[in-house]
Amino acid sequence: MSTATLEMRPDFKIVAEIVQPGTRVLDLGCGEGLLLAWLATNKKVLARGVEIEAQNVRKAIARGVSAYQGDIDEGLADYPDKAFDYVILSQTLQETRAPLQVLTEMLRVGRKAIISFPNFGHWTVRAAMLFSGQAPKTDLFPYDWYNSPNIHFLSINDFEDLCRKNGFPIERRYFLSGSKKVNWLPNLRAQTAVFLVG
């Protein structure tokens, strides 16, 4: 666990910045547990993860992370209210079947939710759609429409809209292009968004 490094995705670095030391963290779709292992080592958090792929769960547990194999929607229902300080959903919201339900559950189970997602409003996506007339295939969304894990497509504006309508207070927002922060026209220029909600 001590060897975990943050040579990871830029949105992980933002998450690592947000999470306060010594807190309780649940990572939904934790993959091989890299982020959790890093947080456990460097921020002394109490780390828990949910992951659907057996192979990833195995690697996470081998890394010392308390991960369990399960579905995000099904898994959350068991937890008591406010069991965690942070519930993290990184790059997975667009893959969940019922995103609103997942967000609602995240905010029930956690005091705060940290959500990152690829921005469907990015100019490359808009341009791809405009010029090809086909489902956009870009660096950000590299899949053909028929084998994409993504089943919902949302932009930064869409997410803000959803939070407003449902009364989810957005505490902080981070917009990234590669690993650089974007301040100007984020819905057009940011590839990835990270929101701290709650």
Partner: protein, 369 residues
């Protein structure tokens, strides 16, 4: 690594059935060294017909039943941990059981041996652990009935058990599990040689015990593993014999395993231990597993296997769900295997990965605390 089975003796043990057994002996083996802080002890519980010889090689040259998991550099790394494995109460491999001589009568207990439970087995293990001067267990682990013991340890002695690894197991025996055990018991009791359990001076109910074992073996495999291992292959013949001798490989295998079992296992122990399994219910009949785990602070690694139909994955998942409900520390993986229930004994590469990582992080956290 040649290992020696040792025996500990205690004056008495109170049992769940209300009887006090006097005296009681427990056979055990240890591997690795207890560190100065006494913080690296791991207790392994064996499955139904296992024994204290979990690892290393016995004087007779027999490897331990979990030798692929316990040893230097293995999942339960004996370079790092001190491992204890004991034969269960009611067994027939050195721990007090129905086949032992009752000092009060000078004859074997047979059916006068009190009916025991998984909790009784664990109570005796606790006496052993105490007598070895161990104050805390880094982990209690085991598969199948060994997993029941690991769960019982966590629930009965939560302040002592830092972590638990229940593998391919359940928090209470299901109707199907009880049913298979009952078939085994009936096979034994229907054998005239059983003689109401009083056969120690005559001959044991070999036919009944071997049929019981045959049924058991079927439940430990899977449809797929049997298809792969035997298919419909005939045994040393080209065509059917048109009689009731052995035609198929699978028949030959089951007969072989049945016969082999008779020479190493006591039929009455079969009755007692299967009964203990059937009585096993962490909730004592309330069905409220949340209450059973209420004061449990133990860290858990739960493992099930996709093709295990004797202890199906859903039973492990029930444990995991309840631990989540109390916000417990639980890791869980449903490992892909075709070996059925036997997977925890034979398909150990991925299991090793999980156990090693889990123990390592548990030990590190304990050191840091």
């Amino acid at each position: 690594m040649v290992v020696e089975t040792q025996t500990a003796r205690f004056d008495s043990i109170p049992l769940d059935c209300g009887v006090t057994l006097t005296p009681v002996e427990i056979a055990y083996e240890t591997y690795g060294k207890l560190n100065a802080a006494g913080s690296n002890a791991i207790l392994i519980g064996h499955a139904f017909t296992g024994d204290a010889h979990a690892a290393g090689v016995s004087h007779e040259g027999k490897p331990g039943w979990w030798d692929n998991m316990i040893g230097p550099g293995k999942a339960f790394d004996t370079d790092r941990y001190f491992i204890i494995c004991s034969n269960v109460l009611g067994g027939c491999q050195g721990t007090s059981g129905p086949g032992c001589v009752n000092p009060a009568t000078g004859k074997a207990y047979a059916l006068s041996f009190p009916v025991i439970t998984i909790r009784d087995m664990v109570r005796l293990q606790k006496m052993l652990v105490d007598s070895l001067g161990i104050k805390r267990l880094l982990c209690a682990a085991g598969g199948s009935m060994g997993g029941m013991q690991a769960l019982e340890w966590a629930v009965s002695y939560p302040e002592i058990v830092l972590s638990a690894i229940p593998i391919a197991t359940t928090w209470r025996h299901s109707a199907q599990q009880i049913a298979f055990n009952e078939v085994g018991r009936q096979a034994i009791m229907a054998d005239p040689d059983w003689s109401e359990g009083d056969y120690y001076e005559t001959k044991p109910p070999a036919r009944g015990l071997s049929v019981a074992r045959m049924v058991g073996h079927i439940t430990y495999m899977s449809d797929e593993s049997m298809r792969e291992k035997f298919g419909r292959r005939l045994r040393e013949k080209e065509k059917f014999g048109f009689d009731f001798g052995v035609d198929f490989e699978v028949e030959s295998y089951l007969r072989y395993r049945g016969n082999q079992f008779v020479s190493r296992f006591d039929a009455n122990s079969y009755l007692y231990i299967t009964k203990a399994e059937d009585y096993f219910d962490l909730t004592n009949g309330t069905g409220r597993l949340v209450d059973a785990f209420k004061s449990v602070d133990t860290r858990f690694l739960v493992i099930s296997f996709t093709s295990d139909w004797l202890y199906p994955s859903y039973q492990s998942q029930e444990i995991v769900r309840v631990l989540r409900r109390i916000n417990g520390d639980v890791a869980y993986c449903d490992l892909q295997s075709n070996y059925g229930h036997d997977a925890f004994l034979v398909d150990v590469a991925e299991q090793t990965e999980l156990v090693r990582g889990f123990l390592d992080s548990t030990a590190r956290a304990a050191e840091a605390a």
